[in-house]
Amino acid sequence: MSAALKQKKVGLTGNSAVAYAMMQIDPDVVPAYPITPSTTIIEEFSSYHADGKVTGELITVESEHSAMSASVGAAAAGARVMTATSAQGLALMWEVLYIASGMRLPIIMPIVNRALSAPINIHCDHSDSMGARDSGWIQLYAETVQEAYDNTIMAVRIAEESDVLLPIMSCQDGFITSHAIECLELIEDKDVKDFVGEYVPKDTLLDVDNPVTMGAMALPEFYMEFKRDQSNAMTRAKDAVSKISAEFAETFGREYGLFESYKLDDADVAIVVLSSAAGTTKVAIDKLRAEGKKVGLLRPRLYRPWPHAEIAEALKNVKVVCVLDRADSMNDFGGPLFGDVRSALFDLDTAPKVFGRIFGLGGRDYKVVDAEGVIGELYKVLETGKIEQLNRYITI
């Protein structure tokens, strides 16, 4: 690896880091309607805008539905577009999310994960972005403030990759990382600009010499072909994530993959979990490794598209897996991550036993001791060969 470019070590909250990345990216258009806990991303970005540190347009709209609609309009006009949201805001964007992905507009949206109402709650869980997992948006999940910052920068390239051209959500945990000051390294402005490059849109509504129609109708004879093309682009997004993450590592020295494996090579049992809870889990793993327990962790970073084959390969020698979901699918069959992991492992000759646990909803704390409890359950299944309860709530 070549020497990484010079970077500045600072302490920032997750939201400040993402706002800083947005300032460095300087998108053409940012339509925004702030909502807790993503508010300070837009608040700080608007300060950069007011201070003349960015050149793009900031459009303050009257709802998240309008924010996403304006994003679609601006992206169709050929702009590089970013916005940010959480929870109810993402829910209100719903119908337009599908329009953005169906029209293949590479909009970049930092998501600060927060529980959906009711009951009203402003704290972290993944019910918001998990609900949008089938909307045709690429989804990345960050463990730390550093990763939230890095993912925001990489997201631009992934979305705009010429054989992908899909919108992307770059998720981090509400309050847990969004409002926590952590150490991170900031890349120089110029190096960020060099890395993301200029966005050259495939089509633009503002090109009067080559007029086009966007968002036209496609009835039964064509609709499905459009969806197949979109689906294929989502398949290719996986390789784009690998390629751009490798280029990022080469340039800036921090390595990211489709997922992170932690002490998985010789593991008998493993936990699969997204985002900040993975860090807490690693501490518990170290503690139990010291007691001779062979525990590992797999933290998906890319959730959409779902790197099912790679994940199956990584978990094939593990005997028991517990999937921790910070969202419930309310289907009597566990959370969304549970379903995806279990399905990915189905075709293995000797598939691990897999059970699911729902944790941390609405910001409920997930502590090292909770991770230790899960590892205890994993070992019980390893020893008895029996899963007593396929799915249930923990941290309750």
Binding site: K9, V10, G11, I122, H123, E143, D173, F175, I176, T177, H179, A180, I181, E182, C183, S276, A277, G279, T280, K282, V283, D286, K287, D365, Y366, K367, V368
Partner: protein
């Protein structure tokens, strides 16, 4: 397990404990430590009991849960000791602490008296500082967070007084006028000098 020092700040909304945790974190970061600084958000009502936290370490910090076994507890409003003792939903000021803990309380009472009010073991260190009076003298209003930061440098050595002053100047010189900056720096210095206890 990871090795880190955990700090829990108890205050009321608007008493500046989120800012205090931020300044402590940034100062330790500038001195080469790995840090976390985060608030426990609740309803934003002036006067409501709030907490903020720090983790400081020589190694990268991976945990992302709240601080439940603090090494250092800083209480910037003494009335919270009784309020939190009676509140079943919130942790008390002594919750999760062990015999090696350090307590720092904003009060004009003696450390000995505070030890009794907190009901902590003899091995626990208890320090007191009249941070409210210092802030009235130096800043002109009740803002006990900066004197407590100065006192923290003295009591724990987690950060240097000079580091705190440097961070405060760098972070707030644009936001506040010179008088406010000078007042807060004086408050930190007096906090460092006037801390009492054992």
């Amino acid at each position: 397990m990871e090795k880190y020092t955990e700090v829990r700040w108890h205050g009321r909304a608007q008493q500046g404990i989120v800012t205090a945790a931020k300044i402590l974190g940034e100062t330790a970061l500038a001195a080469g430590k790995y840090v976390q600084a985060f608030p426990e958000f609740g309803p934003e009502r002036m006067g409501a009991p709030v907490r903020s936290y720090n983790r400081l370490s020589d190694e990268p910090i991976r945990v992302h849960c709240s601080v439940t076994s603090p090494n250092v507890v800083i209480i910037v409003d003494i009335t919270l000791i009784a309020v939190l003792e009676a509140d079943k939903a919130l942790p008390s000021t002594t919750s999760g602490t062990d015999g090696d803990a350090v307590f720092m309380v904003n009060t004009n009472h003696s450390a000995e008296r505070l030890r009794g009010e907190l009901g902590v073991a003899d091995s626990v260190k208890v320090f007191t500082l009249d941070a409210s009076q210092i802030s009235l003298d130096t800043i002109g209003r009740q803002m006990p967070n900066t004197p407590m930061l100065g006192a923290l440098a003295k009591a724990t050595g987690l950060v240097e007084l000079d580091g705190l002053i440097e961070n405060f100047k760098a972070s707030y010189s644009k936001k506040y006028d010179e008088k406010v900056i000078a007042g807060n720096i004086e408050a930190m210095k007096r906090g460092f000098a006037e801390l009492k206890g054992e």
